[in-house]
């Protein structure tokens, strides 16, 4: 039996450039890049050096705090470069791919085995990286015990990949991963209200059908409505598309970093889906029938609300299943602050007219549409924020770094992406997600 979760507060930002439901195989990328920053708060300890040859699924580095937690290569090839930043921080590992791919055989996993065996197996094979935890929205601690595992099968963010579509045909892998994860705790899965998601047919899950505007599909919303994180508790979250990789590893012993991703955005001529690997060059997908070379565009690994900005020579990051390309907006707008606006999204009606055309799709660029200011308006964030948390108050507590207050207001429950919509509508153009991330980092440091 499924339960219904209906969200009223939120905002659907409808954008031009939704991917057409057709999958192509992306051109095989020559280079792959793994960026440790994708695994927030993990300090990498390199196993591989420049010049080392690795197979797909072989360890590249491990967590400095816990040697058992490995992070593995998506391809076989030679490590050609270790890019370092200030204080010798590792920025990226660049791998030149082999023509013929070889995989490490981790061995089939017996799904009847106990949780601790599974934990060790996931840690050793690099699949642990796909399990994130709240509090703090980081890779789950190796020894953590969750009170629940949450998976969202409904992507409500603008221009995100349709999970019903990308997960099709992967039922066996999904079920294997869910069966395995349910050894740790109850697995809660949300799907869209009228979807035919393969996830809806899984065994061993608690199913929720969600409806309403974005962020109804965010896993944070699901957690908040089902079982909010209290102090001292941990929940795990796994992206639905990563269940496929975990499932395949358990069933076959092969770490297959393959993923169906959406290439979307108004700058793309023919937005569609690609089959590609984690860490691939974005240039393998975006130019053919895609964007104009040299045009002034922004390339985002992820969705327009929470994705990472990468250049046209950038790479698909470890967790994303969408690449979005939208025009940059680095131009001035004459009297942009007082003329009537028809071509941008707004949740006010202050001479902005998007309320007249709720179904219109917009071609938004990256312009700030204003300047950074102190927080001034109140009551606006609450209109798009469905969690039982006071958004303005928690943001302010992060700014003045009051740990007690952050904790009391619900910091254990949130992730930066929960504040994407409040950031989008913010009249003062405050960087909400960054404020929350820094607040969470402070808590990790001070409270742990």
């Amino acid at each position: 039996m499924s339960k219904d979760i209906r969200i009223k507060k939120g905002l659907d930002i409808k954008l031009v450039g939704e991917a057409e439901k057709a999958v192509e195989n992306a051109v095989v990328s020559n280079f792959y890049s793994i960026r440790p920053e994708d695994f927030h708060s993990i300090i990498p300890k390199l196993v591989a050096k420049e010049g080392t040859r690795v197979k797909a699924g072989e360890t590249l580095f491990y967590n400095k705090d816990n040697e058992a937690m490995k992070f593995v290569s998506p391809v076989s090839g030679e490590i050609t470069e270790v890019q370092r930043g200030p204080r010798r921080r590792i920025d990226a590992l660049k791998i030149t791919a082999d023509k013929v791919q070889e995989h490490v055989d981790h061995g089939k996993f017996d799904l009847g085995a106990d949780a601790e065996k599974l934990r060790a197996h996931l840690l050793a094979t690099g699949c642990w990286a796909f399990i994130k935890q709240r509090p703090y929205d980081v890779v789950a601690k190796a020894d953590s015990t969750p009170k629940g595992i949450f998976i969202s099968g409904y992507a409500s963010a603008p221009l995100s990949a349709d999970l019903d579509f990308t997960l099709k045909g992967k039922e066996a892998e999904l079920q294997a991963a869910i069966t395995a994860l349910s050894k740790f705790a109850k697995v809660h899965v949300s799907v869209g209200k009228d979807s035919d998601s393969p996830l809806a047919k899984m065994q061993n899950i608690e199913l929720y059908k969600v409806s309403g505007p974005h962020p109804s599909g965010n896993v944070g919303t699901l957690i908040n409505k089902v079982s909010p994180v209290n102090k001292g508790e941990t929940v795990w979250t796994v992206n639905a598309q990563d269940l496929v990789i975990i499932g395949e590893l358990l069933l076959t012993g092969k770490f297959n970093a393959e993923r169906v991703i959406a290439l979307s955005g108004s700058a793309v001529k023919k937005p569609r889906y690609f089959r590609t690997l984690i860490g691939s060059e974005i240039s393998t997908m975006v130019y053919d029938n895609g964007v104009e070379r040299g045009a002034n565009n922004r390339f985002i690994s992820g969705n327009v609300l929470s994705g990472k900005q990468v250049g046209p020579d950038g790479f698909l990051d470890y967790y994303s299943n969408v690449v979005t390309v939208i025009p940059e907006g680095d131009d001035y707008d004459f009297f942009g602050w007082n003329k009537p606006i028809f071509d941008k999204v707004s949740n006010s009606r202050a001479l902005t007219f998007s309320w007249l055309t709720p179904n219109k799709k917009y071609d938004l660029n990256t312009n700030m549409n204003g300047e950074h200011r102190n927080f001034v308006l109140t009551g606006k964030y609450e209109e798009v924020f469905p969690l039982d948390i006071y958004p303005l108050q928690i943001l302010k507590s992060c700014l003045y770094k009051d740990l007690d207050e952050m904790e009391a207001l619900g910091m254990y429950e949130v992730a930066p992406e929960d504040f994407a919509l409040t950031e989008f509508i913010c009249v003062s153009k405050q960087p909400h997600q960054q404020i929350i991330r820094e607040g969470l980092d402070l808590m990790i440091k001070e409270i742990g």
Binding site: R298, N338, R373, Y390, Q434
Partner: protein
């Protein structure tokens, strides 16, 4: 676009210098900057603070224009040039060029002083402290001329604006950080620093002060009474205005506060554009009605006789309170200031209700100056963080309780 390129070049030239905020303030007035989103959401909604503030100013413009006509109308009526209005809101006696020109030339200097002095201080602080010039004063600067009596001396206004902007706002860190509504701080300063001037019955109609002087010098002309309705009621005198006069605003008073009709339209506009908080407006109205009704009951019960000095205002029908004085203006444009109001939705209900409630209470019981809205709003500004604190604590307690149930 030559202008765009030239301004862009200048912006780059000034970047990082002390003068950058001052230049940017002028530049961003003409052009929304070319800054792009970095690091967070890659797209942003259309609204910025300038647009928000501009919307409030748009809602104030009808009150301003009406105020100009009304200033001239009250003046010409008092000196006997014209007859009182007879044909409702669109009466020709009111909407005449003669009325407008008197008001226009009287009010224009107030606007210039308000914006000139206030924005000057804003620029100065922005340059000294190295932050951008913030838009808060755009609204304050428009509110100030609308809430002062028309015959206020310009030097008085100048001193008050300096006080209000520096002490009311900049010492706290500028727009978004202040505790008290700056426009009301300015008015409160005038009220307490120059009480004989502000609370007299001479400043509300243009020319009344001059005429008094002329009479003192031996002129035989009639004195002009510039008394407001509240002043009359406080002295237990009979009112000479009809309800429709009060609703449409053909009465003496601060420049922008008289026309409840236009304020109502402005309030509806602010609610429609989602800029003003309907919660505060509605709850303030309710608060005022409840208090007014209680006073009416007191009178009906015979606890107070018509010899009492409170009788005039207490016996005023409870809903008339919304039409007279600065009540409507305060509720729509002052109480809703997001920075100084309560910030939680529940808090807004409480905050608004108390503003209405206390306004009428002060209005009735204050012997020196029968208007309570200003003081009520300033008082609730101070209490707003406390109200929010208790509302937020409700959420915090719920969270703690949830944790306890789980662990128990």
């Amino acid at each position: 676009m030559g202008l765009k390129q030239n301004l862009h070049a200048l912006r780059e030239k000034y970047r990082g210098t002390k003068m950058a905020p001052a230049f940017n303030a002028l530049h961003t007035f003409l052009y929304t900057p070319n800054d792009t989103a970095k690091g967070g959401t890659h797209i942003k909604a259309a609204d910025d603070l300038k647009r928000t503030m501009n919307t409030v100013i748009m809602a104030l413009i009808p009150c301003l224009i009406f105020g100009m006509f009304n200033t001239g109308y009250q003046h010409n009526l008092a000196i006997g040039e014209i007859q009182a209005v007879t044909n409702g809101f669109l009466s020709g006696e009111f909407w005449s060029l003669a009325n407008f020109s008197v008001g226009f030339w009287q009010i224009l200097p107030l606007i210039i002083i308000s914006y000139g002095v206030g924005l000057g201080i804003e620029f100065l602080f922005a340059v000294i402290k190295g932050h951008e010039v913030e838009e808060g004063y755009l609204v304050t600067g428009m509110l100030v001329p609308l809430i002062v009596p028309v015959d206020i001396p310009l030097w008085m206004l100048t001193v008050a604006v300096i006080f209000g902007v520096v002490i009311g706002k900049e010492v706290f860190g500028g727009t978004g950080m202040n505790i008290l509504n700056p426009a009301l701080t300015i008015r409160a300063f005038l009220f307490f620093a120059y009480p004989t001037w502000m609370s007299g019955d001479k400043v509300w109609v243009h020319g009344a002060v001059e005429r008094t002087k002329e009479i003192a010098n031996g002129s035989t002309a009639d004195a002009i009474s510039g008394e407001t309705i509240l002043g009359t009621l406080a002295q237990n005198q009979e009112l000479s205005y009809s309800v429709s006069d009060m609703f449409f605003g053909f009465i003496p008073g601060s420049i922008g506060e008289t026309s409840t009709f236009l304020i109502l339209l402005g309030g509806l506009f602010l609610i429609f554009t989602k800029i003003g908080s309907w919660r505060i407006m509605l709850s303030s109205v309710l608060g005022a009605l409840v208090m007014g009704f209680i006073f009416n009951m007191v009178v009906d019960a015979g606890w107070i006789s018509n010899t009492s000095k409170f009788y005039g205002l207490m016996s005023t029908e409870f809903w008339h309170h919304l039409l007279i004085g600065g009540m409507a203006f305060g509720i729509v444009y002052m109480a809703t200031d997001p920075v100084t109001a309560a910030q939680t939705n529940k808090g807004k209900w409480i905050y608004g209700f108390l503003i209405g409630f206390i306004s009428i209470m002060i209005r009735v019981f204050n012997p020196a100056y029968p208007e309570g809205v200003m003081l009520a709003i300033l008082l609730m500004n101070v209490f707003a963080p406390t109200i929010d604190h208790y509302v937020v604590q409700g959420n915090v307690k719920r969270r703690l309780k949830r944790a306890k149930i789980k662990t128990a």
